[in-house]
């Protein structure tokens, strides 16, 4: 073991990047020099935007200074990475200058591309960014009745349950405001059911029927006509709307494509078990940035981070790598009226969602509130949030 600390650069200060940096610092201490590179230096809690749009959350608790979430031994460079050179072991920064690394973790997330869909920007609302959620909140405040259509304008997208959750919580919101009888809520699903996981759809669809939420199937948004108030699908169908809420198209960050590391969507080819990126031994990727056809969810990054930390530590310390990512994901799914269910699965075990309950809704609420003090710092035990239940792990 040489006395020179290994240089680790983490691109992106979101949940995955922050957690992997903290775990590496905990494990390696002076054996590593870790730098998180983030363009804004702010860490956002994206699951809160949906609630903000429906008046359930305040912007002030959805964003924090990344510096306050990182351990003292981790450096933070508030910079934008513009090129990654895997063979040279460097990252070029927008303002000039570069960082040399021995190990690189790519946690750059996803970007929203509104202009890929004609009419989307002028004709629709959304809750995938803070500004969009605030704009939607304002639109809902002046909404006094009419037809609201919720749809998906690009795949992949972050948080697959979100459109379903939004439909359920919106319907409840309209009831609370006393305008439900003057409104229609339509969920336009890209698939032939409400949600991709069939067992969850079986729970959710009867609830939607009970609450009068209409389901349109095989509806992948292709264009929006703002003046006519019509949204069209690539399958050839059209829906009229008074208020349109869309999940926008997502792509990987420019730095990935500009470095010729990404696929057609700008996502990095990543090994599903070792999380090595682009076939490089010393480059890893996690979270939304990967090309894995797995949920783009905070929990995915949360469960991937310890695997990468362990594998990099093994490389540095010269021990055999012990941990693989087993595909673990955990997502809550709100069903309105103070209840929620949960989706817990991994590569070997499909989900077995429980009947929606107040317990799980509370668990989600508590988790949301506790996030800042627990998740990025790696303070949650391996079995949180929610253990893998006996019915799933047979």
């Amino acid at each position: 073991m040489s006395g020179v600390p290994a240089r680790i650069v983490v691109l992106g200060g979101g949940v995955g990047g922050t957690l992997v940096a903290n775990l590496l610092d905990k494990r390696l201490g002076k054996d590593a020099a870790i730098t998180v590179v983030d363009p804004t230096g702010m860490h956002d809690y994206q699951p809160g935007y949906l609630y903000l749009a429906l008046n359930g959350a305040n912007a002030h608790w959805l964003s924090r200074d990344e510096r306050t979430l990182l351990r003292g031994g981790v450096d933070l460079a508030i910079e934008e990475a513009v090129r990654i050179h895997p063979d040279a072991g460097t990252v070029q920064l927008a303002r000039g200058g570069s960082l040399a690394w021995d190990y690189l973790v790519i946690a750059t997330g996803a970007r929203l591309v509104y202009d890929e869909i004609p009419g989307l920007a002028e004709g629709s609302h959304g809750f995938y960014s803070l500004t969009e959620a605030e704009r939607l909140r304002a639109a809902l405040r002046t909404f006094s009745g009419g037809k609201i259509v919720i749809g998906v304008a690009g795949i992949p997208y972050k948080c697959p349950p979100a459109p379903v959750e939004f439909a359920m919580l919106l319907e409840e919101h309209l009831r609370d405001r006393g305008i439900r009888d003057r409104s229609e809520v339509v969920l336009a699903s890209p698939l032939n059911r409400a949600f991709t996981i069939e067992s969850a759809s079986k729970i959710v669809q009867p609830i939607m029927r009970e609450r009068g939420i209409q389901l349109e199937t095989f509806f992948n948004v292709e264009s929006v006509d703002p003046s006519a108030g019509i949204v069209s699908s690539l399958e050839g169908d059209k829906l009229e709307y008074d208020l349109l809420v869309l999940v926008p198209p997502h792509r990987g960050q420019d730095v990935i494509s500009d470095s010729n590391l990404g696929d057609a969507g700008g996502w990095i080819p990543t090994n599903r078990s070792t999380l090595n990126a682009g076939g490089y031994e010393r480059v890893f990727a996690l979270g939304d940035a990967t090309d894995l056809p797995i949920s783009k969810s905070g929990s995915t990054a949360h469960f991937e981070a310890p695997v990468i930390a362990s594998r990099i530590a093994s490389l540095i310390l010269g021990t055999a790598p012990a941990e693989n990512y087993g595909g673990r994901v955990m997502c809550f799914l709100e069903t309105g009226n103070g209840k929620a269910t949960v989706l817990r699965f991994d590569y070997e075990h499909p989900p077995v969602p429980p009947e929606p309950s107040r317990g799980w809704h509370m668990a989600k609420w508590i988790f949301n509130r506790a996030y800042w003090e627990t998740v990025p710092q790696g303070r949650l035990p391996d079995r949180a949030p929610g253990t893998m239940p006996k019915e799933v792990v047979r």
Partner: protein, 135 residues
């Protein structure tokens, strides 16, 4: 093993508001991956009797009229059901205090199935490697 250890809740009071409070804490701790042990003593144990669990256990004196209204406006999930849900969220155990069982002349069959077993005080302390909260 979590960084902060098992959450041990000692339930003494048998009113619905305190039991609801304990149930919410159990759900929260379970959601955060903490192991939770509930230890039922005295009037809390009495509230878990199979023939009484769903009956009205009243509220603490602090509640008053408005308190009662506020509590029932909250939602209809009984604390015993919330505790069952906490068990499906994480590792939650509910144990009856052996001494209190003796005091009331109870056997495990007299208790609602949500109670997992009987512990003496020594067993409770052996398992309590983290904070102990008294409700």
């Amino acid at each position: 093993m979590s960084e902060e250890g098992t959450v041990s809740l000692v339930l003494f009071s048998g009113t619905d508001d305190r039991l609801q409070s304990a149930a919410v804490l159990a759900v929260g701790a379970a959601a955060m991956g903490r192991k939770v042990n509930l230890f039922l003593q005295y009037w809390a144990l009495d509230a878990f009797r199979a023939d009484r669990i769903l009956k009205d256990h009243g509220l603490s004196p602090e509640a008053g009229e408005e308190g009662a209204e506020a509590m029932f406006a909250q939602g209809k999930t009984h604390w015993s059901e919330l505790l069952r849900q906490a068990k499906s969220i994480g590792e939650v155990q509910i144990q009856a205090c052996a001494d209190s069982m003796e005091m009331f002349g109870l056997t495990q069959d007299d208790l609602d199935p949500v109670v997992d077993g009987i512990w003496g005080v020594a067993a409770f302390f052996a398992e309590a490697d983290g904070s102990i909260t008294f409700i």
